[in-house]
Symmetry: C2
Subunit: 338 residues, 2 copies
């Protein structure tokens, strides 16, 4: 059997069975996006790794090395945010071909530094190795969270509302612009979408407000797409979900791109992935107050987009006309044929 | 300018200047083998990443996936040992080609599990991604050390003795056996050297005894080779060193391999690298007592192999006949032409 027969998630489940160990200091172990580890005192340690592989995650001609350095850190910071944590340190492991330009590496690290400085994250180590072909960038991020503030995927309860920060589908729209250069769009809007695609803002500040509120019950960051990621909350919380397509926060620019490539806007918003927004849940009585608090303190809009159902309630999407369809996890996974 | 013009160490120095930040919670940052980070309470956090790249660090036909999994963890555990620490958690980032056999991945994780279980290390997370060619394995290890026990490279003082654990050159001799299959050696000895090459024992237990003794002044693990690694102690401690070739602990088997490939045994011991033994320093009055204590408590032999000189004393190797030659860092670095 090849790994392409299993797909990324199947392979992760399989190796998790091999290495998972029950230990009281491991609060969240292998299988989730971020490890939560018991530290000494009131702080738990957070640890996360994510990679950027040339030709798979990025094309060298399409993204500047500075953007790539920022992005490699951003995707990890977003995971630290997803449990309500604070990011502290990064380690960077590179495998590079012999003919890599030093200037390219310099710019990559300037991007890491720039993004790190924004959020108080220091690069404290790493590794350098040769690659025979293509660049491989692994970034490991360490963070911390006070144990009373940690938000896991497992806390959603039937009746809770589902909320998301920011805008969904912008990153997917940016990708469409790269794939179809003939799509028409005003230069400033094109640039905005490309920036949202390459270097989205990790929602660390928003996560802090959400975690400190005491009102949120579960959280995840949107890396694979809302339809897939909200499914992780359903699995861990053992609940169902109903999302309302008309409530999804989709920018006019992304709607324009969706029209240009003959997709429904909600498809980009639900399945596009890589928005790195936060999806979280809160009791229905507190959801709007919490949304308003996050908007007030961070300037980032927050929208109620769905509700948590009982375990037997299933997973549903209410389309704009009112028709209800099964919510399918349409996100990306490695090795899996579409 | 290409990175092959700078070499691995030159490139690390360069990027360290871009990202290094002075912050009181970063005790040891980028540029050393392991990051030492201020935690809450009496424990400092240790973080380290190292990689195994197919075709660069390993050949798929030469090493079993289980050995490779063990090795990928071992090389990081050795770095945790090098500062006197305890290893706790690992995260594993893989990039794998589509046609990778699931059985190969299973065995890799069984090796990680096996080695982790030996030293109380749990795999708590990781990442899976596609690679277009060859496997890339990054292992990130977290550990801790009580602040009064940490041993850095910077503590060696003139007059101190230089000590090493175990045997030097076995790994290099194992590599010679792989490169020259016609070298004659008894099967049991061949197997021993290959095991020492692929899956050396990280010296975590020995490091604990050394760190708790209070007698050691500096420590490093031998990944690049003693001649290169003791140089790192000299740089950070601003001292010189004299090593005695006749005191180097070299096994009879490795001497036999050295003879078979027409090398001086001390060349394998000093320049071979990948032994993952510990090199440490202690005041001359305490060195033999400390060596005896480590041997008694762990069963691993410890040998005094040199002495620390004043800063202006230079770096020297006394050959077996008594002639003194300049000690040259002969270890491995990526991208650098020999």
């Amino acid at each position: 059997m090849r790994i392409s027969d299993l797909g990324e998630f199947g392979l992760i489940d399989r190796v998790a069975q091999i290495v998972a160990v029950e230990r009281p200091d491991v609060i969240v172990g292998i299988g989730d996006d971020v490890a939560v580890l018991e530290g000494t005192g009131e702080e738990w340690t957070l640890a996360k790794v994510d990679s950027q592989v040339e030709g798979v995650h990025f094309l060298r001609d399409a993204i500047s090395p500075r953007q790539l350095g920022r992005r490699a850190l951003i995707i990890n910071l977003s995971d630290i945010a997803s449990v309500g944590g604070r990011a502290l340190y990064a380690l960077v492991s590179l495998a590079l071909p012999d003919d890599t330009e030093v200037a390219w590496v310099d710019e990559l690290y300037r991007g890491l530094r720039e993004e790190g400085d924004r959020f108080g994250v220091v690069v404290v180590g790493g590794n350098m190795a040769r690659s025979k072909e293509g660049a491989f960038i692994d970034v490991f991020v360490l963070g911390s969270v006070r144990r009373e503030h940690v938000l896991l995927r497992s806390g959603a309860r039937p009746g809770d509302r589902v909320l998301v920060t920011g805008w969904l589908g912008d990153s997917a729209a940016g990708l469409q612009l790269l794939l179809k250069p003939t799509l028409e769009l005003a230069p400033a809007e094109r640039e905005m979408l490309l920036e949202r695609h390459f270097t989205p803002t990790p929602r660390l500040c928003e996560a802090e407000v959400i975690a400190h509120s005491g009102a949120a019950t579960a959280m995840i960051d949107l890396s694979d797409g809302l339809s897939s990621d909200v499914g992780h909350i359903c699995e861990r919380s053992q609940v169902g979900v109903r999302l309302w397509a008309e409530r999804l926060p989709i920018s006019p620019t992304t709607r324009q791109v969706a029209a240009g490539c003959r997709k429904a806007p909600w498809q980009l918003a639900l399945e596009g992935g890589e928005d790195y927004e936060l999806c979280f849940t809160a009791a229905s009585a507190e959801a709007e107050t919490l949304a308003a608090a996050v908007e007030r303190e961070t300037g980032t809009p927050v929208r109620v987009v769905g509700e948590i159902l009982p375990p037997e309630g299933g997973r549903w999407l209410v389309l704009e006309g009112g028709r209800e369809v099964a919510l399918e996890a349409g996100g990306w996974q490695h090795w899996r044929q579409a």
